[in-house]
Amino acid sequence: MANKISGVVLDAAGHPVAQARVYVVKAPGPAPDVAVLTGPDGRFALGAARSGTYEIACSTDHAGTASATVVVGAHDAVVELRLS
């Protein structure tokens, strides 16, 4: 099965944020230009078809933005995005 980047979006106080828009900013190859919305628990998962370094970001209308760089290798990458 293909690898993925999964994680959670948290607000400044550490609470999960639902409906945040999470998307790939940089990828080691062409990346589908979609954005996933976080679930009620703030969690998300994005496909990562290629091994390498990804920059992902998230945006919200009222809780701020965040970004992170993750490395996808033989296994899935897990990331916490803390909004500010």
């Binding site: 993925k4 828009r21 790939v24 990828a27 080691p28 062409p30 230009d33 919305l37 078809a49 370094t53």
Partner: protein, 320 residues
């Protein structure tokens, strides 16, 4: 011993076969088009100069010579990415906004052509939700990327395959839905996308069929099959609903097309996640003709699925 051959079963009655020979420049002698419609009471925006739309605050960027300045970056070539320690040298990074972000917000989304674009809220098979963009090609049909209607290679059990439903919000402007919201569960793509391993980006296109005739009100884009030379010399226009901007707001950019191959078009038009499925279109004699479907972020360019003859024929069939 006599042998028999079996025809491969069609994977889904909704899928169209798209295994035509690759289009080449020599096969396109003259552009093939179907015309746009501006819908009812369109108040159509008069195009701007140079093949771009006239949008307050937008100026078509100067080309090649000035881009060297635009993309001038600090000298970091001697620095290595820490990822190399584990995975070796990486391929070039790919990103969706290059240099300055030229996108401008569209506020007049109730007029043509902006209202022919739709914000999409996609619910996948595993109930995860996504945002994307679609555009009308007929009274009840929107074109979009294949990966908007059929997810491949997600890595999440239960997610891959046809999405459950898509909420279509034409001409959306933030919380304002000037044409309401229509939900579709009826989608089209092609086997080149749906049955390929991981999804073949050369066939990444699809369509959303609405249960209403909303396109008669919003209008739709024309479709065109252009030669390589016509595409290389064109200004590409993209408007859509990116996730890095306030929810449901429409953003526009335009720039000269970088390059083209037999199945894809490459450009430096800025986009972000959520704009998958947008039209890449030209303005010809005041009319808008789509010639690609935006789908991917790229290293120095983004890219879309080129509308070659088999793609054109499928879109025409799906809009009937």
């Amino acid at each position: 011993m006599a042998t028999t051959s079996k025809k491969a079963a069609r994977p889904n009655p909704h899928t169209a076969v798209s295994n035509q020979p690759h289009e080449t420049e020599s096969t396109i002698k003259k552009a093939v088009t179907v015309p746009p419609s501006e819908g009812t009471n369109p108040k159509t925006v008069k195009p701007g100069p140079g093949g771009a739309e006239a949008v307050p605050g937008f100026k078509l960027p100067k080309e090649a010579a000035s881009l060297e300045e635009v993309y001038k970056a600090p000298e970091t070539t001697s620095l290595r990415d820490i990822a190399e320690a584990s995975f070796g040298p990486p391929p070039p990074e790919e990103e969706t906004v290059h240099g300055f972000d030229d996108r401008v917000k569209i506020t007049t989304t109730t007029v043509y052509p902006w209202r022919a674009h739709a914000s999409l809220l996609i619910t996948a098979a595993d109930n995860s939700q996504w945002i994307g963009t679609g555009w009308f090609i007929g009274p009840h049909t929107l074109a979009t990327a294949g990966h908007v209607v059929f997810i491949k290679g997600s890595g999440v059990p239960g997610r891959d395959g046809w999405v459950k439903r898509i909420q279509v919000m034409a001409g959306r402007n933030g919380a304002s839905l000037p044409f309401g919201s229509v939900t579709s569960t009826n989608f089209r793509s092609v086997t080149g996308w749906t049955t390929s391993s991981g999804g073949d980006e050369n066939y990444d296109y699809g369509a959303i069929i609405l249960p209403t005739q909303l396109g008669n009100t919003t209008g739709w884009f024309g479709l065109a099959v252009y030669s390589d030379a016509e595409i290389r010399g064109a200004v590409g226009n993209i408007s859509g609903y990116p996730g890095d901007k306030p929810s449901g707001t429409q953003w526009y950019d335009a720039r000269k097309i970088d390059s083209v191959n037999s199945r894809k078009v490459f450009y430096d038009i800025d986009t972000a996640g959520g704009q998958s499925g947008s039209a890449v279109y030209r303005i010809v004699n005041g009319n808008r003709y789509a010639f690609a479907v935006h789908a991917y972020g790229g290293a120095s360019t983004n890219s879309g699925t080129r509308i070659v003859t088999p793609v054109f024929n499928n879109f025409v069939a799906w809009k009937a």
